[in-house]
């Protein structure tokens, strides 16, 4: 396999995530009981043989840095290459970037110094098992300049303004790229891009010099006739997390055994930061069904149809249904929760009742006490 540099955008689409991204990047949004969204991206890169990864950070990146550390959990603590976190950097007037082009221009030195031949760019808001090696092979077989990954699927009204849809000819060459798509379904761009590093460098330098900001507008739309841009049809499960509702639904998808098998195949492990927790302790009166429960929990009450993160305590007589309880949540005795997303270290006092609904789950901010 050719040498590939992975570039991860950690802050994309986070305005749509409400409280969950108030104090963290999209990349560090907790997901699936023991992960953060970036774990899926980093694990996919590593499992595809990419050991050179730069994470572009914009703001609120402290939780991200604490989480990825030196990258050793992903085997990315390397003498050559490995993991780099790239905070806003460069000229004093650079400030905070407005789009991918500016972001990439800010790290152009990092890109230039890499000895990789290809670049894979990806966001952190998709939960999927992606084989970048396969995409690269496709890219080479099509003799493409740029390959972008898409999946044909439904687009809900709420997600429409956050979605880019592409149109392809019979050869899978991209002939149209649309934002704010009006139809109910389409080939949704999954924010994964593969191209030669030399081409990326040229595009970034030229576009930035002309004051362009958006990669989608400037390159995918603007140069679609000049460049050979191809679409790679991603067939597997994809959790596209661009809203709280989508976050909730994707979390609940994990309770489906087929999706779980797809996201956690034995030969492509999903790595995350280790916390040395104790196995889950179930009490004498525990009653648990159709739930995903992570290490370090102590369950004395009822849990149903929920995703429970590490170190959560559910008290005696408490009922937790259709909930997502993040790390360290404490549910007091006889409390009753339904359709609640509790951020980290939330305390629900004894006998409190909180009921949200499926389309509008209640979100309780980090460290709050109810």
């Amino acid at each position: 396999m050719s040498k590939v540099l992975g570039i991860v955008f950690s802050n994309m689409h986070e305005t749509s995530m409400g409280d969950l991204t108030e104090n963290r990047t999209m990349a560090s949004v907790p997901f699936g009981g023991r992960y953060r969204l970036i774990d899926f991206t980093l694990s996919n890169l590593v499992n595809s043989g990419i050991h050179d990864v730069g994470i572009i950070a914009k703001n609120n990146y402290q939780t991200l840095m604490t989480h990825v550390g030196t990258g050793k959990e992903w085997d990315l603590s390397r003498k050559n290459g490995g993991l780099s976190i790239l905070p806003p950097y460069g000229r004093s007037e650079a400030g905070v970037f407005r789009g991918r082009i500016e972001a990439l221009a800010g790290i152009i030195q990092y890109i230039k110094e890499s000895n990789a031949e290809y670049v894979v760019m990806t966001d952190c808001d998709t939960v999927a098992t992606v084989d970048y090696d396969d995409i690269l092979k496709y890219h080479q077989s099509k003799d493409a300049d740029i390959t972008i990954v898409y999946q044909h699927k439904q687009v809900s009204k709420a997600q429409r303004n956050n979605t880019t849809v592409i149109k392809l000819d019979e050869n899978h060459r991209v002939y149209d790229v649309m934002k704010d798509h009006a139809e109910d379904e389409g080939n949704v761009f999954l924010d994964i891009i593969v191209m030669r590093k030399s081409l990326l460098e040229r595009i970034v330098v030229e576009s930035n010099a002309r004051g362009k900001v958006s990669f989608t507008e400037e390159v995918l739309q603007g140069q679609k006739d000049k460049l050979r841009i191809f679409g790679y049809d991603f067939k597997g499960y994809i959790g596209d997390i661009k809203s709280i509702e989508a976050y909730y639904n994707c979390s609940m998808d994990l309770l489906n055994p087929d999706i779980r098998r797809h996201l956690f195949p034995a030969h492509r492990p999903v790595y995350t930061k280790v916390r040395d927790e104790v196995p889950v302790r179930y009490g004498v009166d525990a009653k648990v069904g159709h739930s995903l429960i992570a290490d370090g929990c102590i369950i004395d009450g009822e849990v149903e149809n929920s995703v429970i993160f590490r170190g959560v305590k559910v008290g005696k007589g408490a009922k937790v249904r259709n909930c997502i309880l993040m790390q360290g949540t404490i549910v007091g005795d006889n409390a009753d929760l339904s359709y609640v997303i509790a951020d980290k270290n939330v305390i629900i006092r004894n006998s409190r009742t909180l009921v949200g609904c499926e389309t509008y789950p209640i979100v309780i901010g980090k460290g709050r006490s109810v």
Binding site: G32, G33, R34, K72, L254, L255, P257, R260, L263, F264, P269, V270, Y271, T272, V274, D276, V278, P279, V280, R281, Y282, G283, V284, D285, A286, K287, V288, G289, H290, S291, L292, I293, A294, D295, G296, I298, V303, V307, I308
Partner: protein
Amino acid sequence: MISKKEWIAMLLAGGQGSRLYALTRNLAKPAVPYGGKYRIIDFPLSNCVNSGIDTVGVLTQYQPLLLNEYIGNGQPWDLDRVHGGVYVLPPYQKSSNSDWYTGTANAIYQNINFIDRYQPEYVVILSGDHIYKMDYSKMLAYHKEKNADCTIAVLEVPKEEASRFGIMATNEDGRVYEFQEKPKEPKSNLASMGIYIFTWSKLRKYLVEDEANPESENDFGKNIIPNMLQDEQRLYAWPFEGYWKDVGTIDSLWEANMDLLNPNIPLDLYDDSWKIYSRNPVMPPQYVADTAIVKNSMISEGCEVHGEIDFSILFPGVTVEEGAKVHDSIIMPGSVVKKGAVIEYAIVAENTVIDENAKVGCRPTESEGEWGVAVIGAGVHVGRNACVAAKSMIEQNVPEVCDHE
């Protein structure tokens, strides 16, 4: 030049643990899984790190492959250090007298060069067979306070059981005047826990002398300690209070696991100030299905539970299918319990398959004849409808029993 260390630890991990039979056929006793995600050696290693010891020599001999791989560079225990860290020390060839480790004292003797490199003031000698949480720094403070040459951690045991242990007879101030190995008439109820702190210069001298004596069995309990007592060296007993369990037999291993489910047992694994570290599996959270009934149990990551679990411990990656029952049992990593199978009072080792409607072990009340914990060895397949009696030790596949209905 390696910087000088105040103290280092030497962990004796070469034991076969022959009384664990099938469980230690292919791995050393310290590598035996315990408590849903740990291996026994996690306890002394974590105790070392939590006590502030950053250099540990692990002496291996019997079936070291898994243990070597498990310890690796010591990173899970924070023992990947620039100076010190964890070292696996197998026996090695020398220009003369190359030998296996012939006894506990001989194992340390053969590694005098390793210890000398750190010029430690004190050396802690540990074994890899016990489940306990101990702050060795408190023991060291006691050792210094008493100006001792050797301090031995002791546990009060019931008088009637004292004859099963090595007993320390002490004066009022804790000084040991006699050591009795499994005495008929014990002079105290203070049992040695096999945990020693030696002033290295003293121990070094006794190791060299002991090695020169062809009659010696080169054992700490049988030779080094009696010799030091004879020479009126300053030996002190340091009383330990807390949970301590030797997991040398099938029954004690089963009990020590079940102790974790007993809220009255003082072994708190959830204490953040004294974490027990281990090499963590890379697996998703456990899934508990609608059909599952899970009570009073400990379950680890990567498990898929569709059946009934009561008073049991499941290690990472165990699958229990619908209608299967696991009661009062320990299921080690990667094993599969298929539909309708029943496991009671059993230890099922790693990567085994208990096929549909098979029955392993039984409750004491239902047992005819001798009762005990049934053991299924690693990788064994127990066929459909097969029945494994209580106290069995299964190391070969058990064939399927045909349905005659």
